[in-house]
Amino acid sequence: MNDDRLAASGRPIRSGPSLGRHGVCRRHHLLLFVFPPLASCSGAQSALDPAGPEAAGVATLFYTMLIGGIVIWCGVVGLLFYAARKRRAHSTKSAGQLVLWGGAVFPTVVLAALLTYAVWLMPVMRPWFQDDASGMRRIEVTGEQFWWRVRYLGEDSGPVFETANEVRIPVGERVVFLLKSPDVIHSFWIPVLGGKMDMIPGRENRLTLVAEKPGTYRGVCAEFCGPSHALMAFTVHAMEPRAYEAWLSARKNSSGADAEGLALFLRHGCAACHAISGTEARGTIGPDLTAFGERGSVGAGSLANTAEHIARFIRYPDGVKPEVRMPHFSMLPDADVERIAAYLKGLR
């Protein structure tokens, strides 16, 4: 496998301050010996290293069930040994008691308790759930084959600006995501914060999330949506509120003026599908490329964001992501592709 492919390997795009050793995982590191797969439980894309209450609920549920499961399993194995060793048969009455209490009452109580707990964890069951999300900051995320369109909505529902494959939220503030899809079913999942929520054509689903720790996390598509489904990820930046406001206002005023790079970008028709604010590029078929240089990845989490990778993506998008909806530009002169890549990398 190609090392540039971050997505497939599940490696974090970039670690934030709260990632790595400080997670919940650490408390349970003994478990790693028992369950090696848990070794991947810390990091930017781990539901077991939560940074928000929803994900924390899921993690607690997971551990509760895991430990409970281990205890029950030990009990059953113990019973098995007991039955195998026992010489004298049970009386009919005590056997009946065992089956009743151990085989019917106990599982019913345990399952009912777990079900209640899990249902309580579901969004609409939560005590803080507000049906009316009108006061909240709203971000519309549309799953497209195979990338994420992200619109920051203003007071009047109109988009303030659009970006792609990256979501920024302020720490400590509950944000509502309006989830849509124009093509097939996708699913929005930020394991560290919560989710998943399906994005269904013709519908608008809502998911409210809050990040409690600043950091850079990774979101993924959790519903198979085509050949490049596994290469459809996004970066989540949970930022301190002050830094967030600064970013918002900077982002509203970005402009992509760079005479030569921009001229080449327009000359070859990239603007048919891509927009860069402050320029005449207004295409909305593909991802908005305003401030592209700041983004964590190229091609929705497929490649790290470097000028070489951008050039590679422009030449052979299909080589990076099978059946991608961007035509290849390998027929352009190398100098033009490199100039455009440098231009995009320089966009702030």
Partner: protein
């Protein structure tokens, strides 16, 4: 009565062997000069007619009464068919009359076939006879134009044929042009009308013309007509031809008006696209100041030509130069009602260049 097993085996093994021995001996004649026996001739033609009749059963015939279908088909007939079948301007030569079977005078036989049957014959050719298939399997529209022309053939005299095919002369000594059919026969500005399906070349971008000619010659842009016209040219003449047409001034013409509603819908798509369906704005690639010269001018082209090309791109059959996949992607999500609107808008627009 039962035949003993060993006689059966002898029959199955020995007969084919005898056949091979006969073929090897060279006694089987392949001479065309001696002709077929009457019964062989009848049988072969009977098989051919049956085969064409059955194959044509499910062929749907489009409308063929558009006079614009005739000129390119007639020009192609002169280069691709008349050599065997003769034409109203010149009969068959003795050389082809000595073929077996002899290519028939189409004036006489065309009325015996239906449109669908003619389509079958022209598209696929006739095996073992010398009758070739169409140079590409992807351009049924061109074959239908040929069928439309064949229908008109029986009533055509030499003059009408010269007119419709753009033939410069019939190759007698002292003719002005040494070639009976040239690019001008089909593409000359004065031969084009509002309804032409032949593209206008005057003032087109040079890079695009060259890419297109190369694409025809390399069979990357399927067109039976243009593959024949460009395929035999020496490679070094292509840049000359491209530059010749690029330098011609685009004609000062009366721009056709077109249905205003249709034109308006076309304008909307051309300027803004339809992002919900992933249709990009055409003008973000075409006819931009400082734009890539491999992206052609389309304004001022005739509406029927534009519409045909858009449909070809839409189905993925158009092909073209090294940039053509961009256009295939742009046309992929067009809807049925878009083709005419876009064609009407660009046909009625003043030609502007990159």
């Amino acid at each position: 009565m039962t035949i003993p097993r060993k006689y059966l085996i002898a029959l199955v093994v020995v007969l084919p062997l005898l056949g091979m021995v006969f073929a090897w001996s060279g006694l089987m004649s392949v001479r065309a000069s001696t002709g077929h026996w009457g019964v062989t001739d009848w049988f072969l033609h009977w098989v051919m007619k049956n085969s064409v009749r059955t194959a044509a059963l499910f062929v749907e015939v489009p409308p063929l009464d558009d006079p614009a279908l005739l000129p390119p088909a007639a020009g192609h007939f002169e280069t691709g068919c008349a050599i065997c079948h003769g034409s109203p301007a010149q009969g068959r030569s003795d050389a082809v009359l000595a073929m077996l079977p002899r290519p028939p005078d189409l004036k006489m036989v065309v009325p015996t076939w239906t449109d669908a049957q003619l389509f079958e014959i022209v598209k696929h050719g006739v095996r073992f006879t010398g009758m070739p298939g169409w140079p590409t399997g992807l351009r049924d529209d061109e074959i239908w134009a040929m069928v439309a022309f064949l229908r008109k053939l029986p009533e055509m005299d030499a003059n009408a044929y010269l007119q419709v095919s753009g033939l410069h002369g019939i190759g007698h000594a002292g003719e002005v042009s040494p070639l009976p059919i040239t690019c001008e026969s089909c593409h000359a500005e004065k031969r084009l009308t509002e309804g032409s399906i032949v593209p206008r070349l005057a003032g087109q971008s040079e890079a695009y013309l060259l890419n297109s000619l190369k694409a025809y010659a390399e069979e990357k842009r399927p067109s039976g007509i243009m593959q024949v016209a460009a395929g035999t040219l020496p490679e070094e003449s292509l840049p000359e031809l491209a530059s010749y047409y690029a330098k011609q001034a685009p004609p000062a013409r009366q721009i056709g008006q077109g249905d205003p509603q249709l034109v308006e819908r076309g304008r909307e798509l051309a300027e803004r696209g339809r992002p919900a369906d992933k249709v990009p704005a055409c003008l973000s690639c075409h006819e931009k100041a400082g734009g890539n010269p491999a992206y052609p001018r389309i304004s001022g082209q005739t509406a029927p030509y534009l519409e045909r090309q858009l449909r070809l791109f839409h189905t993925g059959a158009r092909g073209g130069g090294p940039f053509s996949h961009l256009m295939t992607e742009a046309a992929r999500s067009l809807k049925e009602e878009d083709f005419a609107a876009l064609a009407a808008f660009f046909a009625s627009r003043e030609s502007r260049g990159p």
